[in-house]
Point group: C2
DNA sequence: ACGTCCTGTTTGTCTAGGACAAATCGAACG
DNA sequence: CGTTCGATTTGTCCTAGACAAACAGGACGT
């Protein structure tokens, strides 16, 4: 593998660090220190891009950039420190042993993984499959990715294959028009869809009609879509990776855009530390989603 | 619907216009002219955001921003002018009539659309379904979206439902380990996956082993993934929406990262106007993809 | 010993205007 | 009618400064 150079736009794309941040770090911390081309524009060598991606990952784990950048290369050791709180607080699926599934992904055995998951689905039924297999597995993959034991492409493969399984299972059970009508989507810059699919599975099982719009809907379009589809509920998902600071303002704007009669529900890891807001329902777990659905039914009987 | 205000980051998210561009337009053309908050930061009212999104759409159609911004509001008429060249050059599926499918989407009848597509799939078989139904339908939806007769959320619903159908069909035919091994993915910022799924369907039908990694893989990770999966071919997809200017540099960087033995194939609407490069195979249509695959087989027999 | 408030530091994002190269347009020319 | 060349348009990059939100850690009170 040779070492190409990346301009600042390419680094932003690849690392997720904004141009502003890249320039600011250079000014403040003296890292990264890119070369310059003939026009005086930054050119980042591949190894710095790699280091930046690593730093970004550790930041998402809760570390602070100032410290990370100061650390020389022994920070590779810092890969291990998973957040102790998380691994305790997250239910690990208890009776279910997921290590074999993780191992299959780690071996890049796509066919084997698909087969194993199909078996589980058949054995557990969709609801328990989602709650006891997919959900904890997603958390474990997330942790593995955070502490560096999973490569990016391994995580991508896992996501892609799991998406297929869930969609397939959902397709098998969608029926006629039912209530409530739930519109599922995410805001721009939020590309994670697994949480949305899990929610859809639960809602569909409970007899709701789901309108899956995929990810990344502009706010004003979410409003139009909700009206056009005569939705009762708009369900959004925020992953832990989504910039937390933007969420409150964003929800408030969406709440304004949305007609009063339509409820706004939010789920996913990104809302865990969020304060409650008027007119917005926070749903921290899949169980709660079912409860909320039943409650909606009682209210609108 | 009330009128909330958006800060510059929210406008970038929702319109896809970078902060730099938004500020530059304000300086140069005097539009948009956002309010300012107490700190002197820009606050865009919702109607300006809507206008910006409209302008962006017309730009993607080939119009130039200077003219568009000068035009008052009668530009709404400018919605119609679809690019004449495109609608002529794109094969319209000939014998197949797709208007009923488009109508179902336009009526937001998800169930009806799914059913109609399932019927077509059963009648045509996967290969012809992809070539004669999905591919032309995607083009027509793209055009409809460009000339404003489709809303964003209608396009999203179409995409989501079609993705499900294709994935389901692909899942039904994947078998044991076969050659060549094709790794399918897209670069960061390229979220469109329909083209990738169509390609996967064709490759899988021809007996190749497909490794679907979803979209948005960082370049260096694509290299790692290709090695880890012992891929013979890396297949990328670029939509027409992807910033064309970035593509050549990007492909060159990827070519450097990738071991020589692994071929790099590119498809999708985004490569139509691209110049040929060493070590990179441009595949402008699904037919060509099959040809290339057979050619690979002859070479590596 | 534990929780809460306060203060200083860290960090990201915004602002301004200038510069330049790539893409595109339009006119003159063969 | 096609092609080349200069002018204009347009996006992206640059520097450097300011500020607010988030955070850490100490002082204080219970």
């Amino acid at each position: 593998m040779n070492t190409p150079s990346f301009n600042i736009a390419a680094v932003e794309r690849d690392t997720g660090l904004s141009k502003d941040v890249l320039r600011m770090w250079e000014r403040r911390y003296g890292f990264p220190v890119p070369e310059r081309d003939l026009n005086g524009e930054r050119l980042y060598p591949a190894d710095q891009v790699d280091r930046l991606r690593l730093i970004k990952r550790l930041m998402d784990q809760g570390h602070r950039p100032g410290k990370l950048i100061a650390t020389p290369a022994e920070e590779l050791t810092a890969l291990a420190p998973r957040r102790a709180r998380a691994s305790e607080s997250i239910p690990t699926g208890e009776g279910e042993d997921l290590t074999d599934l993780l191992a299959l992904i780690k071996q890049h055995d796509a066919a084997g993984y698909q087969q194993a998951m199909q078996q589980r689905l058949a054995r557990q039924g969709l609801q328990r499959f989602v709650q006891d297999t997919v959900s904890p597995l997603t958390h474990q993959v997330g942790e593995a990715w955070e502490d560096g034991s999973f490569e990016v492409f391994e995580e991508h493969l896992f996501t892609e294959l799991t998406k297929r399984l869930l969609r397939q299972a959902i397709a098998a059970l969608s029926g006629g028009p039912r209530r409530p009508r739930v519109l599922l989507t995410s805001v721009p810059d939020e590309t994670h869809i697994l949480g949305l699919l899990m929610a859809e599975a639960m809602f569909a099982l409970e007899g709701a009609e789901c309108i899956p719009l995929g990810t990344q809907m502009p706010l004003l379009e979410i409003g139009r879509a909700a009206e056009a589809h005569r939705a009762d509920i708009v369900a959004l998902s925020f992953s832990t990776a989504f910039p937390q600071r933007q969420i409150p303002a964003l929800l408030q704007q969406l709440r304004i855009v949305l007609p009063d009669g339509i409820e706004l529900w939010c789920g996913g890891g990104g809302i865990a530390r969020l304060a409650a807001q008027d007119g917005i329902r926070l749903i921290p777990s899949l169980d709660r989603a079912i409860d909320e659905l039943n409650e909606w039914r009682t209210t609108h009987a």
